[in-house]
Amino acid sequence: METDVVRSHTAAGTVQTARKSKLAIASAKIRKDWQLYTLLILPIIYLLIFKYGPMVGNVIAFRRFMPGGNIYGEEWVGLHYFNMFINDPVFWNVFKNTLMLGGLGLLFTFPMPIIFALLLNEVKSRKFKKFVQTASYLPHFLSIVIIAGMILQLTAINGSINALVEFFTGSKITFMQQAEWFRTIYISSEIWQGMGWGAILYLAALTTIDDSLYEAAKIDGANRWKQTLHITIPGILPTIVTLLILNIGSFMAVGFEKVLLLYNPLTYETSDVISTYLYRIGLESNNFSYATAIGLFESLIGLILVLTANSISRKLTERSLW
């Protein structure tokens, strides 16, 4: 193959023949291996229709769209819909709420699996460890509808949390009707859902730490706390850094479905996020173009965050998503 290319370079002396023979080689390869290539047909069609189709559909952010009309809109309106949300005070409130829920969520939920993994690491009994792990993964497997149902039930006026609140304070709190409680409830439930599952990668990283390091530390007289500080934590630090960067990259992706199931107009002040706002604008008020513009803006910010986080991760830890 290589000699072929070299020969056509020297003999004919033109790039064109080289390219031709490359093409010929490629098509010969494909012909020989055609069955392998047929496997790609359906997945590529799938991606084009269901993934790239909607990306092209974003063009209606720049065009006036009539429900039932052309799916790519009727006429160009430029940045009209983008100007609309930039001047929309509700948009800036939901933007702030998204940052708050995402940012506070990251701050409180990110350390939990690490602490949990470190505590589990001190357990000697394998059975007990397995039991705790199995129980802690469970919420991860539930439908968000069930999770929302459980949250509503626990925070209800006759729910278990209010039974405790009443015991200590003598009065009850209408949690889901008060905007100031929404973030607390949202983030606590995120911890409940994700702490056990999030610990898996840390637990795996913990098993790779060389036992001889601990032996050496013991001989030097380091107690367990010192060993944790100087061996265990540095041992899982690359995993922590990688996951932190990736989480920062996706922190704007607040749980849309969960908010949609838990919020109501009484809590919009803190609970309404970009995705729920555009959902109402688009599908309840039928303002498709405006909602698409907001969605495109959100997706672009998300993409920039992920790409930035990934390139930082690649530089710092030599690990990246691709």
């Binding site: 069930i146 626990l154 199931l261």
Partner: protein, 289 residues
């Protein structure tokens, strides 16, 4: 070497903390089960926590008699089976082809797929697309748009990549073509990753509700998650945006909700202890790509 007193104290506290975590994790489940067997009066006065009060199974009988519940439950099973089957076929084909280093365009195709993980068309363009394809109010709106999870595909791809090339060489000498190699040689050796992928997809379809919420308006087509959502939204008396129909405005008894939740999570709870190790394997496979 002897453990210090402090470390012994720490270990006692550690065990207590971990048991507390287990208790708090499981409490919502226990509470739902307790409520499902309790009478309305005890729930409304806030007296049900760990154990049923005013024990009764009448609520179970009421829910079990509701034919719509079973229609919706059957839909969930159908969507899960059909969706998982479609997903597995497409994902396996894609992952296998991309796992071959000799595939021309392998890298651009992988990027073409991975890009969709980080940038998607967004809610409204998806909604417009599904409606213009005439898929609203059909099962296809539920099972096709999410058919390939690129994350799952990458897990499978890296699994196939780790298989020795000699397998394929030996098989082609034996006269098997590509399809034969995939079906008769590769897949039987990939049972672990296939089991993991089936579980990932099946749980996702079983739990999904939003696409059904967006694209289905006929009660007969709803999965059980929508049945439950309408019940939950109804109980907050139509305040939730989206809860509009008149029958949602009536208060739905808390014990009926609990029974519905218990019946919905029961299949997951029953298989969970046996399959959770496959999920952990899947996460591990996913992290080493």
């Amino acid at each position: 070497m002897k453990e210090s007193i402090q470390y012994k104290i720490f270990k006692v506290f550690n065990t207590i903390i971990l048991l507390l975590i287990v208790f708090l994790t499981l409490y919502p489940f226990i509470n739902v089960v307790a409520q499902s067997f309790s009478s309305e009066a005890y729930i409304n006065s806030g007296k049900v926590s760990l154990f049923p009060r005013g024990f009764n199974v009448e609520t179970y009988k009421t829910v079990i008699k509701d034919t719509m519940f079973w229609t919706n439950y059957k839909n969930t099973v159908i969507y899960t089976v059909v969706g998982t089957a479609i997903s597995m076929v497409l994902t396996t084909m894609f992952a296998y082809a991309l796992s071959k280093k000799r595939l021309i365009g392998r890298r651009p195709l992988t990027l073409f797929a991975v890009f969709t993980m980080f940038f998607n068309g967004g809610l409204i363009p998806n909604y417009v697309l599904i409606n213009s394809l005439g898929m609203a109010n059909t099962m296809w709106a539920i099972v096709l748009p999410g058919a390939i999870s690129i994350y799952n595909m990458l897990i499978m791809k890296s699994f196939f990549e780790n298989m020795p090339d000699e397998l394929e060489e030996a098989a082609s000498i034996d006269g098997l073509n590509q399809y034969g190699i995939l079906l008769k040689i590769i897949l039987p050796l990939s049972k672990a990753v296939i089991a993991t992928m089936i579980l990932f997809y099946a749980v996702a379809y079983w739990n999904s509700w939003f696409s059904a919420f967006l694209y289905l308006d006929q009660k007969e087509l709803f999965p059980v998650t929508i049945y439950l959502r309408n019940m939950i939204a109804g109980a907050t008396s139509g305040m939730n945006s989206g809860a509009t129909s008149a029958d949602n405005l009536t208060q739905i008894a808390a014990n009926i909700k609990s029974v519905t939740m218990v019946l919905t999570i029961l299949p997951i709870l029953t298989i969970y202890p046996f399959v959770q190790k496959y999920f952990v394997t899947g996460v591990m496979l996913g992290s080493v790509k």
